[in-house]
Symmetry: C2
Subunit: 477 residues, 2 copies
């Protein structure tokens, strides 16, 4: 712990400054706050968990942390997949889950003001009362918090048409490292007053400040949708269909690819009659309206032309929901698969979210298959194919150095392939600990220098989520 | 000039480093590069104008400028309305207008890569060949450059449905103050690798770096549209109609308000039979499609319910284009009005672009009318009412201290009113010199501190567009 005082002294100050139930120190309780869902990323041991309910309580926490140079790791529901919310040794975990109020839904200006601990799906439910919705829908939408969504600029399934979290963040309130509170952004539809601090905080993974309030743009409620499911003999053919759809005039609101590894893993976790023999399932939807039948016909034609063996179109909402629910199970299903592949507690997943320009999608898919074969690993492929954003999920044995080495080699090869195809190392999960080295490669030295300059300007003591996104400062490493 | 060397030495170095035609020093030529279209904002005298054609030439210019601490003011077509592109004494004007290549249109990934000097409308023309378009459409779209649009995060008329410039900027190449080149952002639809430097540069008005290449998202070409024109007995009633439309389920692609001052000014500039007796004209459009007739009916009903005396619906594209062309003439028409109101060269305009939440629009409109009456000034109102973003344009006599004082008082009162209504001091024009003091009020001291920290981190010598957005550093003032 870089602080000059004892943890006990810091805890005593926190207890004095905050309500009685806001500071947790029981080691048994702390364990559950150690890490997010990124297996294999390092996690340290916190000295305490702080659960504030107000901005002032967050500010008080950060004033104390700053005074004693204690690291602070902000956390939402810990559903992240890059280790950004993992504890570092001697840190305070600042859990925002108790800041869970929907403060306001304003139907005329089509916005909602929420605290960071509100669960994603709760916002849509609050908005639905006014015929509105909040579109971004990460797979974790029933559990992940909006604060975590904003801190990682989370994506989701409807992003192919409706965009990611950051496009909906109009304004935020942030507590800075020293406890100062700043409001950025606006409630207006347009605004260009000064630098876009709001977007700078979005996706900064708790390294620049702690978000305590969010003003979100809402949209009219989604129209009913028509869905399409297409089966392919190869993942590559499914990828070709996606490229053809991107090139067409169709505007799908969803375009997901699920490979055979995931289909079987999902079916094993929750049997629902998924096609066991297909190499890939492409799942698409279009919003209803005058263009819907034509759009669906175009998507169907793209699938057939690319080699689909079966295309099924449905306006049955229950059927569509079942397919979407299956898709959302991809992550837990792969965890089960890893657990079933190896003896108890030994199987692990390296989860990736590389994104490439859609035109390069088949090259990415073929490359991942080649890498998996070369490294003799099971690598499942699932993801937001319409955005060129895939999740190659690598199954490894955490206790076998050879398996781990092959897994890491495959991961690095996939990252290198993604960048070579004009892509990015992370489409939606963020950098955290998992992608730090690849971020540096993607940015180049000048980009890293600008990142470091911003980090130093916002957090001169380096107490905010140190070591995430950027390596720790050399002087403190 | 803060440099320790003579201007001649700096010019000699530039001439040695750049192609022969890239450095202009003829004082008669320089005059035309002194200022943008923001009348009444201070403009200094540059020592030279540099017109690079490549990123490397921009980098060479900035290396020389850095070495001698010479201020650099980046300029596009100088159509800005806040003085951001105005020369400062002893500066180099870095005009990007010769960097005018559309490098690439990629129809599969729906993006264009352009140099900063490409005129906005050229991008749409290049995209149209592929059935695509670039939506943001400032009134100056036939003359303003994309570099200027990005540097100011420009708005426009279709933004009410399609959003502003920044929402289309996927990636940029930037030359930093010291001449280093950095690429930010991506070609992928999604990406969360590191801090959002792209959005930080967007709207930073040349104070953090010089943008040398832009990757823009494109959209499918616009559908044909249906238009609606409604006349009102008062501006306030037109505002009430806008609020009613915002509250409805209609999705207008355009919702503009033009008051009687502007209607008469436009008619005087180019007679086209605009309704001379109306207090306000509301202009709207919806994209064609299954919802269009219903949406138009809703908009018409909102207008009638709010007191419209006449509502005219048309699918005649020529008629719609004529009305839009009239709207685009608002700014030159008001300049003509100011010139006609006072003796030659004496009439001037203070142009504003306050934005408020749409629900507060009538309060803004009524307040501006009250302020105009109180200050005994002609204040025309025109703007993107559907976004709550209005242009109260104040007519003053630049040679009459009393008129100028009343004009500035009205401007300040309007800014204060906008902020009190939960709005922003600038919806689309940017801060430049015009809104610097109001930006500081809007941000508050902590927000200003973060702005200053970013500026210092990116431009430690303070050579990039000094005094714009933020006041000059005290040590150099």
């Amino acid at each position: 712990m870089p602080s000059s005082v004892t943890p006990d002294r810091v805890i005593a100050e926190l207890v004095a400054a905050l309500p009685p139930d806001a500071v947790l120190t029981d080691p048994d309780l702390l364990v559950s706050f150690h890490r997010d869902e990124a297996d294999l990323c390092a996690a340290g041991t916190p000295v305490a968990v702080v659960r504030p309910r107000t901005t002032e309580e967050v500010a008080a926490t950060l004033r104390i942390a700053s005074a004693h140079r204690v690291p602070v790791v902000a956390q939402g529901a810990r559903t992240g997949l890059a280790g950004a919310a993992n504890a570092v040794d001697g840190c305070l975990i600042l859990s925002t889950t108790a800041m869970d109020r929907v403060i306001e839904v304003d139907p005329v200006n089509r916005l909602a003001v929420v605290q960071p601990g509100v669960v994603n799906a709760e916002i849509s439910r609050a908005a639905a009362k006014y015929g509105l919705r909040y579109p971004p829908d990460p797979s974790s939408w029933e559990s992940s918090t909006i604060g975590g969504n904003v801190a990682t600029n989370a994506g989701g399934m409807c992003c192919v048409k409706y965009g990611v979290t950051g496009e909906y963040v109009l304004g935020i309130e942030v507590v800075l490292a020293d406890g100062e509170v700043v409001r950025c952004g606006r409630r207006t539809r347009k605004g260009v007053a000064g630098y876009d601090l709001t977007r700078l905080f979005v996706g900064s993974e708790g390294t620049l400040g702690v978000i305590t309030e969010i003003t979100l743009a809402l949209r009219p409620a989604a129209e009913e949708s028509l869905t399409l499911a297409a089966l392919f003999h190869s993942v590559s053919e499914a990828g070709a269909a996606v490229i053809a759809i991107a090139e067409s005039a169709a505007a799908p609101s969803l375009l997901e690819l699920i490979d055979a590894v995931h289909l079987r893993a999902i079916e094993a976790l929750r049997p629902m009659g998924l096609p066991a023999s297909a190499a890939a399932l492409l799942l698409s939807a279009v919003d209803s309206g005058i263009r819907a039948p034509a759009d669906l016909a175009v998507i169907e034609e793209c699938c057939r032309r690319s080699g689909a063996t079966e295309v099924h179109v449905s306006s049955d909402l229950a059927e569509a929901d079942a397919l979407l629910a299956a898709r959302r199970l991809a992550h837990p299903a792969m965890e089960s698969l890893a657990a079933a592949t190896f003896p108890a507690g030994v199987g692990a997943l390296i989860i990736d979210d590389v994104a490439v320009p859609v035109s390069r999608l088949t090259e990415l898919l073929d490359g991942v298959a080649f890498i998996a074969e070369e490294q003799k690993l099971v690598v499942g492929l699932v993801g937001h194919a319409g955005d060129g954003n895939m999740h190659p999920n690598i199954v490894v044995d955490r206790t076998d150095p050879a398996s781990m080495a092959r897994g890491r080699a495959a991961f690095d090869q996939i990252m290198a392939l993604g960048l070579a195809l004009g892509g990015t190392c992370t489409g939606e999960h963020g950098v955290g600990l998992l992608k730090r080295e690849w971020l540096a490669k993607e940015l180049g030295p000048t980009g890293v220098r600008l990142h470091r300059a911003i980090k130093d300007a916002f957090d001169p003591l380096g107490i905010l989520n140190p070591g995430k996104v950027l390596p720790p400062r050399r002087s403190r490493a």
